[in-house]
Amino acid sequence: MRERKNVFNNIDWTLIILYLVLVLLGWVNIYAAVYNEEHKSIFDISQSYGKQMIWIASSLFLGLVILLTDARFFSTFAYIIYGLTIFSLVVVLAVGSEISGSKSWFQIGSFGLQPAEFAKFATNLALARFFSTQHINIKELKTRLIPLFLMGLPALLILLQNDTGSALVYGSFILVLYRMGLSGNFLLAGALVVVIALSTLMVGTVYVMILLVIFAIVLFFFMKRIKRNIINLVALLILGIGFTYSVEYAVENFLGDHQKTRINVLLGKELDLRGAGYNVNQSKIAIGSGGLVGKGFLNGTQTKYNFVPEQSTDFIFCTVGEEWGFLGTFVVISLFLALLIRIIMLAEKQRSDFSRVYGYGVAAILFFHFLINIGMTIGLVPVIGIPLPFFSYGGSSLWAFTILLFIFIKQDTNRNALL
C-alpha cells in the first residue's frame, strides 16, 4: 500500500499530460485565431490569448487545490455542491447579465462567470453520490426517476436561460445510466429516435411512415420471434408513426425560426450561405482549405480575417484545421479519444461506485462536447453553441472542465487508498 499522504505518487500522469497538452494547444490556437498585429505577445493580457493564459494558470492552481483536498470531501458534500449550483442557476435567472441572447452570466467587473458550466460537474457529483448509495436497483422506477430529476433540474434551468446547447449536455448522462445497468435498448431507442426524427425532417412524414410500415411487415414475416409478439409490433409501429408526426408538428410549432433554419441547413434543405448556413459554410471552408499539413501557424486567412465566427470559442477547431491541416485535426481528435478512453479505463478500475460513476460522467460530458463541437464545425451536427473542452477560449468553461477532470484524477489517486 502506497503512502497515502503523497498524492503525487498515485496521480495518473497520463491524464495530467493529456490535459496539459490539450490546454496548451488550445492556447496556441486561440493566439492564432484572434492574433492581433499590434499585440504580438501571447502574454499580452489585453488580448484573449493573454487572458486565456491567466485562465490556464488559475485552472492549474484550482487543479492543485483539488488534488490536495481530501477525496472524501467531494462525495460527502456532493449534494450540497449540487444544491448550491442549482441555487446559483436560479439566481442568475434573476440577476444575471445577458450576453449574446443567453441570460447566463454573473458579471464581476470585466470577468464573467457562467454557473451553467459548473453545474455539469456538480450534477455529475450528485449522480455519483446517488449511485454510490446502497441498495440501488436500476430496474426500479424510483432509481430511474431520481437520476432523471437530478439531470433534468439543471437542464431545465439552463434551458430557461435560453442556452439550449448547455442544456442538451445533460442528456449525455444517459451513458452513465447505461453503465449502471440501464438497458442498452434505451441507447438504441435514443439512436433510433434521432434517426427517425432526422429522416422525417429530411424526406417528409409520409415517406418515413411508409418506410416504418414496410419495415414492420418485413419484421413480421421474416422473424419468428416477432410473430409471436404481434401486439407489441403493432404498438411500436403506432408509436413510431405517432412520433414521426409529432416531430414535424414540434418543429413547425415549437421551434424558433432560427432553430428551424439551422436544422434545415444541416439537412441540406436550405442553402442559405449568407444566413444560418454562413457559419458552418465558412467553418468548413476554413478546415477544408487546410489541406494535409495546413497553411502554417498564423497563416489562416479564414480565421485571421474573421470569416469564421466565434473563432476563439465555439469554432476554435477551425484554426486547428486551417493552420495545421489534417495532421493537426488528426492529432487533436486522437488526443481527445485517448483522454476519453483513458478516463473510461480508469473509471472501470475504481473500486468505489462513486468514483466509477463520476468517471463515466466525466467521459460522457467531455464526449458530448467533443461530438457536438467538432461535429458542427465540419457540418455533421447542427450549430449548437458549446465549447470544445480545454481548447475554447473562456474562463468559466476551462475552470469547470478542469474541476470536472481533476476531481476524477483526485478520486483515482485514492482508489488504492480506500482498500
Binding site: R179, R274, S289, G291, T301, F307, F326, I344, I378, L380
Partner: protein, 601 residues
Amino acid sequence: MANKSLASRKQTVIAIFLVVGLIFLIRLFYIQVIDESYTLSANNNVLRYVTQYPARGLIYDRNGKLLVYNEAVYDLMVIPMQVKEVDTTEFCKLLEITREGFIERMEKAKKYSKYKPSLFEKQISKETYGYIEEKMYRFPGFFVQPRTLRYYPKPIGAHLFGYVGEVTQGIIDKNPYYKSGDYIGISGIEKSYEDVLRGIKGMKIKMVDVHNREVGSFQNGRFDSAAIMGRDLYLSIDGDLQEYGEKLMQGKMGSVVAIEPSSGEILAFLSSPSYDPNLLVGRVRGKNFKLLDDDPVKPLLNRAMMGTYPPGSTFKMVNDLVGLQEGTLTLSTRYTCQGKSSSPIRCTHTHQSPLNVEVAIQQSCNPFHWQVFRAIINNSAKGSIRENYVTWRNHIMSLGFGHKLGTDLQYELSGNIPSAEKYDAIYGKGHWNSMTIRSLSIGQGEILVTPLQLANSAAVMANRGFYIVPHVISSIGEKGKKSDKFQKVVSTIDPAHFEIAVEGMRQVATLGTARWYQIEGITMCGKTGTAENPHGDDHSLFMAFAPADNPKIAIAVIIENAGFGSKWALPIASLMIEKYLTGTVKRLDVEEDMLNVKLYQ
C-alpha cells in the same frame, strides 16, 4: 455482483467513442485532403482580384495643345457571393437608384458569376464616391474600382476623336484582351489608335477580411502587375484651326477638311452639325447617343468621310488634266461658248469666247469642259470610246477619287467614279458615248466625292501631281517623331500639266469667282463649285490651296443646300486659310457674315 457483466459495457462505450472519432477523421480527410473546393472558396473569400485600368493616352494637337485628357471616376463592383444583408433602402439612396434597379443589377451580377466581381454601377463621380466611401464597410461584397473617362477641354473634334464605349460580347469573343466592363475606342481616332491609346491593364491581388476591408496585398504583391498608361498621341490637327472652323460651320450642314499638302497631315477635319464630344462620355452617353441618333440633321454622321457629293465645277480642272495628259487638250486649244444657248450643256457665266483652258477654269465654263471631255472620249486615234473612258477614269482615280484614300480614320467611303462596266450595265455595252455621260465633265452625274477626297485633290494640285495619304496622326508617344507609314501616291498626270491647271485656279482667286475673297499678301489658288443636287438645293463647294508657290494648306469646304460655291464655301475656306497662315483673321466683316448664320432647319 451484477457489476461484472456491466463492466463489459465499457467496451460499448469505448466503441461509441472510436466510431465517432473515426467518422470525424473520415469526414476531415475528405474535406481537407480530397475535396479541393474548400481551398478555392477560402481564396475566393480573401483574395480580391482588382483590375488596374490604365488611363488612356492623351491626345495633343500639332502644337502640343492638349485636346483630350482623362478624369477619374469610380465603378462600383459587386461580388454577389459576399453580399450579406444590405440595408437596401439606404444603399439605393446613396446611389440614387431604385429598389427594382438594385434587384435587377444583383440578378444580372449573379447571372454572370457569384464569385467574380461584376459591375454594379458604373462611373460614379468623385463627389458621390467620396460620400459612399465612408460607408463602404457596411456593404460587404461591394467595392470600387477607379476608372478614367475622357474629357475634352473644348467642345470640338467630335467626329475626329470618335468616342469610347464599353466592349460588347462580340468584341470579347474575338479579342481575349478585353473583359466585360473594359472600354474600347468605337470610332474616330479612339478606334484607329485603340492599341496605342488603351495601355496595358494591370492586376492587383488584395486580401480582404470578412467586413470587406482590405487588409493588405497578397504575398506582398508578388503576383501584382501595374497598369501601364496608354501612349499619348500627337495629332497633325491644328486645334485652333479646328475650333475656328467649327465656329464658322455652326448652323451649316457640311464639312471642312484641310490638309498640309507636303506631308498629307490633316490640319482640320470637321463635319457639321457636330456635337460636344463630352456628351458621349460616361453615364450620360447612352441617353445622349440616342438623342443625337434621332436628330434629323444627323450630327453623328461624319460627313467629312461619309458624306458623298457631286463635286460640280471643282472637278473641272481635274478633267482638264486628263485632256492635257492625253494630248487632246493643249494650252492653245480654244473652244467656243454660246453662253446660255450652249448645247448640250449651258454656260452659267458671261465671258469671252472662244477661250483657252486657263480662262475656262477661271470662268468655270461648262461648254469648254464638256468639249475637253468629248475630245478625250472620242479620241479614236487612241482607242474606242469605252477604252478612252477607262483611261480617263484611271487618271481620275490616280488623283485620289473613286477609292478609299487609306487614311488613319475609320469608316471612310470611296465616293464614286463610275466604271465602264457600270455604264455597260445601265446603257448596254456599246450603247453609251461621251454624250451619254457628258455630265461627268462638269463633276455631275454619277460622280460622287467625299470632302476628304476633295481636299486631297487640292493637295494634289498644290503638290503638282502627288499626294501623301492624308492622316491625322503626327507622332505617337512623343512629339516630333513623324510617322512614315503613309505613302506618297504619284498621279498618272505629268507635273508640267498641273502648272496650267494651277494657273487657272490662281486666276479663279484673282480674277474669277473667288476674287472677292482674296487674302492680303497671300495668293490662293482655288475653284468654286455649285453642285446640282437631285435631292434638293445646290451644294456650295470650294477647294483651294495657298500660298500658290509654297503651299502650306489645301482645303475643301462643302456646305449642303447652300447654293453658290462663292457664297458660303469660298468665304469660309478663305477665312480658314487666313487663320491658318497668318494666325489671325483681319477680314472681320467677312467673318461676321459667316458666323451666326443658320442655313438649315
